[in-house]
Symmetry: C2
Amino acid sequence: MLPVAMSSPSSTSSAPTLRVRVLGSAAGGGLPQWNCGCPQCARARAGDPDVPSRSQPSLAVSADGRRWSLVNASPDVRDQLARFPALHPRPGTRDVPLDTIVVTNPDLDHVLGLLILREALPHRIVSTAFVRDLLLDHNAVYRLLEPAWGVTRLDQPIDLDREGQIEARLFPIPGKLPTWASGLAANRPEATTGVRITDRRTGRRLVYAPGVQSLEAATLAEFEAADLVFSDGTFFRADELERLRPGAPDAFAMGHAPITGARGTLPQLAGLRARVFYTHLNNTNPLLDAASEEAAVVTRTGVGIANDGLELAL
Amino acid sequence: MLPVAMSSPSSTSSAPTLRVRVLGSAAGGGLPQWNCGCPQCARARAGDPDVPSRSQPSLAVSADGRRWSLVNASPDVRDQLARFPALHPRPGTRDVPLDTIVVTNPDLDHVLGLLILREALPHRIVSTAFVRDLLLDHNAVYRLLEPAWGVTRLDQPIDLDREGQIEARLFPIPGKLPTWASGLAANRPEATTGVRITDRRTGRRLVYAPGVQSLEAATLAEFEAADLVFSDGTFFRADELERLRPGAPDAFAMGHAPITGARGTLPQLAGLRARVFYTHLNNTNPLLDAASEEAAVVTRTGVGIANDGLELAL
């Protein structure tokens, strides 16, 4: 992998830059997970510097560092916004510099935060019609959000900011419907997506794919065309859950290709020209321990491991 | 008001004590509220010691300090449990010492946290059948919780812990259906309740009433029979919202009798024999500023203002 040149977020250059902040780098449940006493959760709970706490998955992007858009809204969104002054309201007002929340799929870990931000709705929400309808048709609580919720088709550009400086496109990724929706609808390509975010001023591309059940040619093509990739790092090994709880499903059955082993994603991600980070890490993943041998295996390839609060400028 | 004697939570006495912890003392939105730049939210955000941050409303109770039950599960529940070591899982296990979550009404501020605790469901959930059915019949996401969700009738005792040392009873309080449920069902006495928690070993009673639209005789009788009362402190004045945003509804229309003014609750709460705290404070309430004249008015009567993390033993 050849990392592309990136300016630091505090760069004073006037060249247009796409700014990115990882709001949450864990999978659903976060680290520590409320009901889990495993060694990694226990170390995070105790403040071990090698195992920093991580909140649930979300990303923020901005064309100018002033107004921001989110990809997904996790159950931790209130805390994630509190920790990020750029998304605080202007003093004396209720003006929050939040433009758009793009929703990649109907997992509760990606959409519960929409309800936490339900008051006032200064922002708009965008997803495929399938995802919107699945949530709104079957959940009265989500119908509160209908006035703010627009839809997009796969591979159609959406303006994220008001000036149209950055755009998002949802692209299909093989995945599964979340448990709550099983039986309500048949799975479709519009159910699970990744998002390509392009800076129209520079042509630079970011791809965020928190759920990749298998790294197929189309997804790989998205990654190959990108300058910055955040990809599914849920599980390091396919049998990670089974090692803890015999009979538990494997990574693929959970909708997430593992990082290593047969059909693991690391070899292909390590070969990309883009800067690449694993994110959406489950609390079982040994990458959560920065001092682990597994973390060294990944970082030696040039692939990074996202942390909460990681900021980049592209 | 004559405060009853209370032991400190760290008391080593072997006398049975009901332990109580305020997990969240704000109304929905918390303090600071994500989209609000008002002076109080700004001061909380800046760490002003007179205006401590507050999370969304919830209470924890325990018969022995080891196993706990909750009243309601707020959107901040993950953070609230993280801050409370007594509710952490046992190291090396997924055993969380959580027995029961009692739900007083279907407000999202009281029930979104149920979805954040949806994995594993080591606990049980209890509400009136009206509240359960309203949530489950109209929201596919809540049907994930059905296996854990039991129902109770008004004024029926429920065992909170396994030994039956403490019981809860829901009693009706005049209130309104939340916005998401308007049009789905007619309001009923089972829709909005307070909870009376009784220590069967000592007969001591705690009453928690986060939404009191008007302090009617039946609610007042519950308060009069209690030793410890947490009551609705959403608004200090009836026109608190209108002062900020002309045309906004008054406190009563929002389902919350104000603390002062006509039909204000302070005079009656100040006359109770119980120890009394206001909780469920909205971000507009001047009581959030510990140095305010309004806070002095309340505390001079002997009524307290609950903070996040307040612990009491009864």
